[in-house]
């Protein structure tokens, strides 16, 4: 997956690049707005991650130019500014998402994947599976090793999210926003309790554990490596 990162701050740029390489992307790092602008206009990327406050060319201007030239590459803005106005302005100019610094890298990764998935427009499959865990979305039925799981609606939604994005580390904020539509950073441990309960229903009676805690980052559903995917 070709990815353009435009970020003038050296440390941030480096860790973004490393993080995306390790997550299986093919990122190009660009340290100033002028080159970033040029690359964005001339080469084909699947996603552009753009710092708003660049010393030479304003990130917002790059988005504007891109959209005016009819290029629809998804753009994720990074900014130290967090006011509703900035957010609205960025999105109005054609950016697809907006993340405020400081952010957790896995949050950025999760959002980047969401944007890429949106671009693919793949029909959401009704049947989700990981190892012997099967979720039939339309029927609201979940089973493990052929045995029906008794899930509450929220647990079902949580499991569906984990399955649809299996292999990805999902930060708590993303889970709260996707499953409960809570779009702010809450200091409660609701997500942890909810995942713990779900895990006890899904994994307790089985040797093969599917739901994993990634300390300090979030949760993921993954079938261990030697298994089929």
């Amino acid at each position: 997956m070709r990815l353009l990162i435009v970020e003038d701050e050296v440390k941030t740029g480096d860790y973004l690049k490393q993080g995306f390489i390790e997550a299986g992307f093919n990122p190009t790092l660009c340290r100033n707005g002028l080159d970033g602008h040029h690359l964005a206009m001339t080469e084909d990327f699947e996603l552009i991650i753009l710092d708003v406050m660049l010393p030479d060319v304003d990130g917002l201007r790059i988005v504007k130019a891109l959209r005016q030239a009819g290029r629809h590459t998804p753009v994720l803005l990074l900014s130290a500014l967090d006011t509703v106005d900035d957010r609205v302005r960025g999105l109005e100019l054609g950016a697809d998402d907006y993340l405020v610094k400081p952010f957790a890298f896995n949050e950025l990764l999760a959002r980047a994947r969401t944007l890429l998935r949106r671009g693919q427009l793949a029909p959401q499959s009704d049947r989700l599976q990981a190892a012997d865990l099967v979720l039939e979305v339309a029927k609201r039925r979940a089973s493990r090793a052929g045995k029906k799981l008794n899930l509450t609606p929220k647990e079902f939604a949580l499991l569906e999210l984990l399955l649809r994005r299996s292999g990805e580390v999902l930060p708590r904020t993303l889970i709260a926003s996707q499953v409960w539509d809570m779009n702010f950073d809450s200091d409660t441990n609701v997500i942890d309790v909810a995942v713990r309960r779900l895990r006890s229903k899904v994994d307790d009676d089985h040797a093969l554990k599917l739901i994993h805690t990634v300390r300090g980052m979030g949760y993921k559903l993954e079938v261990p490596d030697d298994d089929n995917h």
Binding site: T83, D86, D181, D185, S186, T188, A194
Partner: protein
């Protein structure tokens, strides 16, 4: 980004100085009064002179008439006799015309014929009938009396004396007025200066007050009564400033403290770990532990930023109709798992009211309150959101049963980093900013937040019913 457009406005002119204003008004008033007085005085003296003159002329005219009518006197004696009449009347003249308009008799000195062109003969001389004219560098005033058998007696006197007196009087009057005005203005100026003296003293007192000396107050009883209110308002302002300053420095101290503890933990932990070779597992453990601490720090910083922005009005509210029962239900769904863990039931009581609010902020406020309420609730109790319409507000109460909060803590619960129980682990429940955020959100919407905690007899001993009361404009 907010763009403030500044409209170029011509700076308003500084109003006239208080002293100038007072002096102008006093000068105008004094001048008007003096002018009125002077005019009245002059008129009255002139009228008095006219009356006197009229009386005198009447007397002379009658004497002339009597002399003429006196049968014992021949025409030759008339002149001598009239001369006698006039001796008492200084500079008075007469001219008698007979029925054929021929001069019959006249006094020496002045020719009164012009008088016959100026006025008519009358039976009685009053001040209003007097006419004056100038003749050969003299000014005369006179009238014509109608005598018997068609004779007319013109009498007149020289006015030079009066005019001279009036002229002198006018000068004296205006000089006196000018002197009086000058004196009064001087007094007024002095008065204003004296009057403003307390202000100057006040100003120098105020200059003594600085950020380090905010405890200084002005004494309202030491200033004239007109300034007492100003002094009180000023004291109030200083009071507010002092509180603001105190809060600010407390806040800085809090930040320093709240950040220093986790930071020093991070540093110590890292230093200890690096002090000797360790297994990969131990390094990973250190990184994880650091990450958790760092995330907590990041959240605290972003919460503090959020609060600071709110206090500076940098958050724009996106008001929309919000259904309180729906938003509560959504929060119940969210908190369901942790409530369930504690066997706490979540309830909504009251009508399904709709208010105008920034949905995300209201959600955040209620979420913080609910999370608190559940955390401190005793097992097997209820946490209730009670909604009640008031006159022009909506009251939302988040109620739980739990340990009592002492009255002394209640009003301070909403301060940043305030913890009712200082021994409580700092990390156990967020950064201590949750309730401060609720307060900010309520105030941003023009609402209020308060708390009450009363021991509940229906509960186990020591258990209280604690209410967090949000009042929100409709």
């Amino acid at each position: 980004m907010t763009i403030t457009t500044e409209v170029a406005v011509k700076p308003p002119q500084r109003p006239l100085s208080l002293g100038t204003r007072v002096l102008l008004f006093v000068a105008l008033a004094v001048l008007l009064c003096a002018a009125l007085l002077a005019t009245m005085l002059q008129n009255s003296i002139e009228a008095h002179f006219a009356e006197q003159d009229a009386g005198e002329l009447q007397a002379v005219a009658h004497s002339v008439m009597h002399t003429l009518k006196d049968p014992t006197l021949g025409p030759q004696q008339h002149h001598a006799s009239l001369h006698q009449v006039l001796t008492g009347h200084h500079q008075t003249y007469y001219l008698v015309l007979d029925a054929n308009d021929q001069p019959a008799l006249s006094a020496d000195g002045a020719d009164l014929t012009p008088l016959f062109r100026l006025t008519q003969a009358i039976p009685q001389i009053t001040p209003a009938d007097l006419v004056s004219w100038q003749q050969a560098e003299h000014t005369y005033r006179g009238a014509i009396l109608q005598g018997p058998d068609g004779i007319r007696i013109a009498v007149a006197m020289e006015m030079e004396f009066h005019l001279h007196y009036l002229h002198l009087l006018r000068w004296t009057l205006w000089l006196t007025i000018a002197a009086a005005v000058a004196l009064i203005l001087l007094a007024a100026w002095f008065g204003v200066r004296q009057g403003l003296l307390p202000l100057r003293r006040l100003s120098s007192d105020i200059r003594q007050i600085s950020a380090e000396r905010l405890h200084v107050r002005l004494e309202p009883s030491q200033v004239p009564v007109e300034l007492a209110e100003l002094v009180q308002s000023f004291n109030q302002m200083i009071e507010n400033l002092q509180q603001g300053f105190a809060r600010l420095s407390e806040f800085s101290a809090d930040i320093a403290h709240e950040l220093r503890t986790p930071l020093s933990n991070l540093i110590t932990q890292t230093q200890v770990s690096l002090s000797k070779e360790r297994s990969l597992e131990e390094y990973r453990e250190l990184l994880y532990s650091n990450l958790e601490e760092q995330e907590r720090l990041a959240r605290m910083v972003s919460d503090m930023l959020w609060l600071a922005k709110t206090e500076h009005g940098l958050h724009k509210l996106q008001r929309e109709p919000v259904d309180l029962s729906a938003i509560s239900q959504q929060l119940f769904d969210f908190f369901d798992v942790i409530a369930d863990e504690k066997n706490v039931q979540l309830h909504y009581e009251g009508p399904a009211l709709t208010i105008r609010a920034d949905k995300l902020m209201l959600q955040r406020a209620l979420s913080n309150l609910l999370s608190n309420a559940i955390r401190h609730a005793v097992a097997h109790s209820k946490v209730v959101i009670m909604v009640r319409p008031l006159a022009d507000q909506v009251e939302m109460i988040v109620r739980n049963q739990g340990p009592v909060i002492e009255a002394e803590h209640l009003p301070r619960l909403f301060e940043r980093f305030y913890r009712a129980d200082p021994s409580r682990q700092r990390h156990s429940e967020g950064a201590g900013l949750g309730l401060a955020m609720v307060k900010s959100i309520a105030e941003l919407h023009g609402g209020t937040i308060s708390a009450s905690s009363v021991l509940d007899d229906n509960q186990e001993p020591g258990q209280a019913q604690t209410d967090f009361i949000l009042r929100w404009p409709r």
